[in-house]
């Protein structure tokens, strides 16, 4: 049986309860809206860019613990990264929570989501922020996990 404690690690619940990156970037160069119809969550991700470099990422909206923590930690790890970095990190992250990836292939802070893989119904919660980020970068306004 999958272990609940692996899903709700302290770092996850901490970021879920006290997100550090809630809000809207200023300036806001890209904006995307994400929707997870499974739980009714809607989030808005904003990005400020300096050329190809991500200066800041923020998110807004209500979500479950997994989705909020994932949004917050995504915002945290992407600061100062390039757009290509962001895509690569998402790839690794997606492999971690839904594929064969290991904790080594993602920035350390994201390793706390390793437990998600055991909860297939929660994969979409963990990836919603990322899908929304990519949509924002690519100029699609909306992302949905369904």
């Amino acid at each position: 049986m999958s272990d609940l404690r692996e899903l709700y690690l302290e770092m996850v619940t901490d970021h879920a309860k006290n997100p550090r990156h809630r809000g809207k970037t200023d300036p806001c160069d890209c904006i995307g809206t994400g929707h997870n119809p499974l739980c009714g969550d809607k989030i808005v991700v904003t990005i400020s860019l300096d050329g190809e470099t991500i200066n800041d990422v923020k998110f807004d909206g209500e979500g479950c613990a997994i989705s909020t923590a994932s949004s917050d930690l995504m915002s945290e790890v992407l600061r100062g990264k390039t757009i290509q970095d962001a895509k690569d990190i998402f790839h690794g992250f997606h492999e971690l929570v839904a594929g064969d990836g290991t904790a080594e292939s993602v920035p350390k802070k994201l390793a706390v989501f390793s437990g998600v893989r055991e909860f297939p119904m929660r994969v979409k919660c963990a990836t919603l922020a990322w899908h929304t980020l990519i949509a924002a970068i690519e100029g699609n306004k909306e992302a949905s996990t369904e």
């Binding site: 049986m1 999958s2 609940l4 899903l7 709700y8 619940t13 879920a16 309860k17 499974l38 739980c39 009714g40 969550d41 809607k42 209500e62 979500g63 479950c64 613990a65 997994i66 989705s67 909020t68 909860f119 119904m121 929660r122 919660c125």
Partner: protein, 405 residues
């Protein structure tokens, strides 16, 4: 009190563990579990009588036809229809409502006509009417819901202007469990000459429904929400209305004769049952009806009311729990939120404890919005549930509060 342990014994799916915990199934509003007799009826059809129905002269076909039509008779009696021909077999309540919308409303409604629904409807009783409005130019009006989850009857009365051509309402809300005064609502609707549709998906598994007494024109039900199989349901329609209506789908069995020049429709209800129906489904549905009748609605309702009261008590004893729309006339549905904990997380944590509830918008987004929520938790009760089940629910919720609250 009813010996529900014995009742639960007839439901094979209830006897399993999720991880290390016994399954506690509190998601019957999504779909009920199936008693052994229903499963057996399906198996027996496939193992003994499997054949296509109508127009077959061989023995299997006769048996299958007989069993299929017997099911129609059982269901029509359960609901007190005036004749079996008033029950049209469909996939479920959703198809039933779409059938009324497309075969009754679409050819009749137009600009200026008003369709009235309530704020607590399931999407299946919203979207078909939105489509009709788009297709015919009619407009949709919505009766608001009070804070306690009951329909605002004053608002209902004032919305019932003569332009209202159809009123469609849930008998029981799937999201919060309100039992609506459908008899009174139909009577009022009739006064302005409106056709009445009652969405009974959440009613017939839990309380006695007498269609004649309610006085509605149409009534929609789903087999799978009343101990029957998936993929089968019924639309009840008054005989005269069904006769006047356009056909629904075209195909085999719904015609009397076909030529490229002229096609004549079959009689009601066959006119609406094109193609091979869900024969096994109908037969299993019939078995479910017999099962319900064996227990009796009095027992069912009493038991679920008792559990409802107990369940509310258990939940309200937990800090941070808020009940949503817990009206006085309520079926066994408990909608709630947990302070600071998203329903989706509650669902996962409860599942881990073996407790199956539903979380989300329950296909009732407008009602969620009415209560200012994106999602809720819903524990829905059934005749096979026990107080112990609700104790487990309470323990699981406390665990969720501990982890995330």
């Amino acid at each position: 009190m009813l010996n529900t342990e014995i009742i639960a014994d007839s439901f094979p799916a209830l006897h399993q563990t999720i991880g290390d915990n016994r399954l506690v199934y509190l998601d019957s509003a999504a779909t009920t579990q199936k008693p052994q007799c229903v499963i057996d009826a399906i198996v027996s059809y496939y193992e003994n009588d499997n054949a296509n129905i109508h127009r077959g002269v061989h023995t299997l076909s006769q048996r299958a036809t007989q069993a299929h039509e017997n099911a129609r008779v059982s269901i029509s009696r359960l609901l007190h229809a005036s004749r079996p021909e008033e029950m049209v077999f469909v996939r479920g309540a959703t198809e039933a409502i779409n059938l009324v919308a497309q075969a009754f409303a679409r050819p009749r409604f137009g600009e200026g006509d008003v369709i009235l629904i309530t704020e607590m409807e399931h999407h299946s009783n919203i979207v078909p009417w939105q489509l009709i409005c788009e297709q015919t130019g009619a407009s949709l009006e919505v009766v608001p819901v009070c804070d306690d989850g009951s329909i605002d009857m004053d608002a209902y009365k004032s919305l019932l202007i003569p332009n209202v051509v159809l009123v469609s309402m849930a008998h029981v809300s799937n999201a919060i469990g309100t039992i609506n005064p459908v008899k009174e609502m139909c009577k009022l609707a009739k006064e302005v000459g409106a056709t009445t549709v009652v969405d009974g998906a959440q009613a017939v598994g839990h309380l006695q429904v007498d269609i004649q007494d309610i006085g509605c024109d149409f009534y929609a039900i789903s087999g799978h929400k009343m101990f029957g199989p998936t993929g089968i349901g019924c639309l009840y329609g008054k005989y005269e209305l069904l006769q006047e209506m356009e056909p629904w789908q075209g195909g085999g069995d719904m015609i009397l004769s076909v030529s490229f020049e002229e096609t004549t429709w079959n009689d009601v209800p066959f006119k609406f049952e094109a193609g091979t129906p869900n024969i096994a489904g109908a037969i299993g549905f019939g078995a479910a009806v017999s099962w319900i009748q064996e227990i009796g609605y009095d027992e069912i309702f009493k038991h679920e009311q008792e559990l409802l009261a107990y369940g509310r008590e258990v939940l309200l004893a937990i800090d941070g729990v808020e009940l949503i729309g817990a009206s006085k006339q309520n079926a066994g549905v408990i909608a709630f939120t947990l302070k600071g904990v998203h329903p989706h997380d509650v669902g996962t944590i409860l599942d881990h404890a073996g407790v199956a509830i539903r979380t989300g918008n329950h296909c009732a987004e407008p009602l969620m919005k009415r209560f200012g929520l994106a999602a809720t938790c819903r524990a829905s009760l059934c005749i096979y549930n026990t107080r112990k089940d609700l104790d487990y629910l309470g323990v699981g919720i406390q665990e969720a509060m501990r982890i995330l609250g």
